[in-house]
């Protein structure tokens, strides 16, 4: 019975101590989570910022207070603002920033919340963009010639003209400034459309002319090639014919050289039979050979 009483008392003491120390612990420490910072205030006045994640000491309420700040990066897009490039072209540009709270103390004192920061950033960025783009031609932003483009330079200029000021004045750490969109004022778009149309028509005309030219080139080349091939064929044909005629002539000449007189005789007989055809009428005297036989006479 006494032992049970003792054990109960010991247990009571342990539980009480744990509870008490938990209360003290939670009152005198503050947990800074990853992605957050805690601003410790003494009687409402910002004292210091705990930016490292982990446990941090503070005096218990009501002496010290803790304000938790979101340290995540945020994206802010500015409004679309019309500006003039160095070559006096109107463009509408929109930039975006990636920012986070850089100095919790300054941020809380100067701005206080996210919406306020974005208001300040908008003005800062628009001014920076107007200034920076005014120092560059439009071809630094859009061009098919890579040597004209200066986007990296423009973006680093934008960053350089906003980041130090934003950190110093508002405690905002501007990590990136980028040109998000580039457009033209509505009244200039019409001119661009006209120009695009004219360009399209030019292209169409060019394609048509090129196509026709190319096609007729192909055709005439083909005709030329074909004529050349045919001419070669004709030439070959003539050569073969000539050679054969020569051979034939030689064969005949070789044969006839044996007896030219006989050749002349056979040749004239051939001519005779060739010349006298079914359409030929011959009027002959019957006293000539062999018809003299008809008259019963002997030949001459």
């Amino acid at each position: 019975m006494v032992d049970a009483m003792k054990a109960q008392r010991w247990l009571r003491g342990v539980v009480g101590t744990i509870a008490l120390s938990a209360i003290v612990f939670s009152a005198t420490t503050v947990v800074v989570r990853e992605g957050q910072a805690v601003l410790i205030t003494r009687f409402g006045r910002p004292l210091r910022a705990a930016t490292q994640p982990g446990l941090h000491w503070k005096l218990p309420w009501p002496i010290d207070g803790a304000i938790t700040l979101d340290m995540r990066r945020r994206v802010y897009e500015t409004g679309q603002a019309e500006m003039l490039t160095r070559d006096k072209k109107n463009v509408i540009a929109r930039t975006f920033v990636v920012w986070r709270i850089g100095d919790p103390l300054t941020f809380t004192q100067a701005i206080g919340n996210e919406a306020g920061a974005e208001d300040k950033l908008d003005g800062l960025l628009t001014n920076a963009a107007i200034g920076t783009l005014g120092g560059h031609d439009l071809s630094a932003l859009v061009s098919t010639d890579p040597s004209d483009l200066q986007m990296d330079q423009i973006e680093s200029e934008l960053l350089a003209s906003t980041a130090p000021l934003a950190l110093r004045s508002y405690g905002v750490n501007v990590e990136q400034v980028r040109l998000e969109r580039l457009a033209l004022p509505e009244e200039n778009v019409t001119a661009v459309f006209d120009q695009m149309r004219a360009e399209r028509r030019q292209f169409a005309a060019k394609y048509q002319a090129e196509g026709q030219q190319e096609a007729s080139k192909i055709r005439s080349q083909a005709d030329l090639d074909a004529a050349e091939i045919r001419a070669k064929g004709t030439e070959e044909q003539a050569r073969i014919r000539g050679e054969s005629a020569a051979q034939v002539a030689k064969i005949y000449a070789d044969a006839h050289r044996i007896d030219p007189e006989l050749y002349r005789f056979t040749r004239s007989l051939d001519s005779l039979t060739k010349l006298v055809t079914g359409n030929t009428s011959l009027i002959l005297r019957t006293d000539s050979e062999p018809f003299s036989l008809l008259e019963g006479k002997d030949k001459k």
Binding site: Q8, R72, Q80, E175, F203, G211, E214, A215, R230
Partner: protein
């Protein structure tokens, strides 16, 4: 008195609470012990197959390197809150976000095409400028996944925000480097690759902890008001191609045709030559044979040849017999020949010749 009095006062004040606790403990100590145990085990977490978990101890990330920070799927032992906090992140899942910042606003686009208005309002209509200062409109879908869970979970900007602006900026910049004809035709792949690379660089620079798995250009076209002009160029181009193809086809048939003609000419020449040669050789050998015979027997052969020829000639010709004149003297005998339609009337020709040979249609009568 004071030493004894003070505790007794506290004891008196806390007596009902202590009595209540004692009573509760005696009744429910098993339950309380069970609750305490459950609390102690509440930090144990199951990490699902497509997840990675990171542990925060007193708010700070446990582990120095990403490999040590991240815990894969399975059972994860951690202390209960508020000591440890387990944050689970889906890293394998690919999320999809449409990016329509450079696309025409659908409602407005309809108005514009209907009205045929020749401009675009930059505030309501998305578009971008190409390197040759043409206007194109693009609609994109970005697919991404979490590549660095800790960075994404604690420091990264909102995934949808950062993707929209980074992808837009990357596309605007990439379009601004290329000509409109290139991006609308064969340069499209290059454009997407360039924009994807740029967007990823941007995502890394803004510590988003995101990886762009793919960037899809669902639509890339000139503004509706200009579509017909672009189509016309396209169709002209195709027509020109057709014209060239037809010419090619013509060339491909004309040349073999010419070749065939040439071959035929050569073949016929060869054939003619062969036959002429054969004839010549035949004639030559016939002549030689004849000559051999002739040399042996000139008179007979000559006579035979002569008679054969005469027979053949007379045999093939139309022969009319003209009876000899009275007395058989042909001297002064005349034969007149007239065409058959001139009638039967004979004519006489005056010059006296002893022999007449004529090859005309004849009608001969004695005088």
């Amino acid at each position: 008195m004071r030493r004894a009095g003070a505790p007794s006062e506290i004891a008196r004040l806390t007596a009902p609470i202590v009595a209540l606790l004692d009573w509760a403990w005696q009744r429910m100590h098993w339950w309380v012990a069970l609750m305490a145990l459950l609390y102690a085990l509440s930090g144990i977490t199951i990490v699902k197959p497509d997840e990675v978990a990171v542990v925060l101890r007193w708010g700070r990330l446990v582990g120095d390197t990403p490999a040590l920070q991240q815990h894969g799927p399975g059972l994860l032992f951690a202390f209960p809150r508020p000591i440890d906090e387990v944050v689970r992140v889906q890293v394998k899942h690919v999320w999809e976000v449409p990016v329509s910042t450079l696309a025409p606003a659908s409602a407005f686009a309809k108005d514009y095409t209907n009205m045929g208005q020749d401009t675009l309002n930059p505030l309501t209509q998305g578009y971008a400028l190409t390197g040759d200062q043409n206007i194109v409109q693009a609609d994109m879908v970005a697919r991404y996944r979490v590549s660095d869970p800790a960075e994404w979970a604690f420091y990264g900007p909102k995934a949808e925000d950062v993707l929209r602006v980074e992808v837009t900026a990357a596309m605007v910049r990439s379009l601004g480097e290329m000509g409109v004809d290139r991006v609308l035709s064969d340069g499209r792949k290059t454009l997407v690759a360039l924009a994807t690379r740029r967007a990823q660089i941007g995502l890394d620079a803004s510590h988003s902890g995101l990886e762009l798995s793919s960037l899809e250009l669902t639509r890339l076209a000139p503004p509706p008001a200009l579509v017909s002009d672009f189509d016309a160029v396209q169709s002209t181009f195709i027509d020109a191609q057709t014209l060239q193809n037809e010419a090619q086809a013509y060339a491909q048939s004309a040349i073999p045709q010419a070749q065939a003609d040439a071959d035929a000419a050569i073949q016929s020449a060869h054939a003619d030559a062969d036959s002429e040669l054969a004839t010549a050789q035949g004639d030559a050998s016939a002549f030689r044979a004849l000559e051999r015979e002739y040399r042996a027997n000139p008179t007979v052969i000559r006579e035979r040849l002569y008679r054969d020829a005469i027979e053949k000639a007379i045999g093939s010709a139309a022969v009319r017999w003209v009876p000899p004149p009275p007395g058989g003297n042909y001297h002064g005998f005349r034969v007149s020949i007239s065409p058959p339609r001139a009638g039967e009337r004979p004519r006489r020709s005056t010059p006296p010749t002893s022999e007449d040979e004529d090859d005309e249609d004849e009608r001969g009568t004695p005088p």
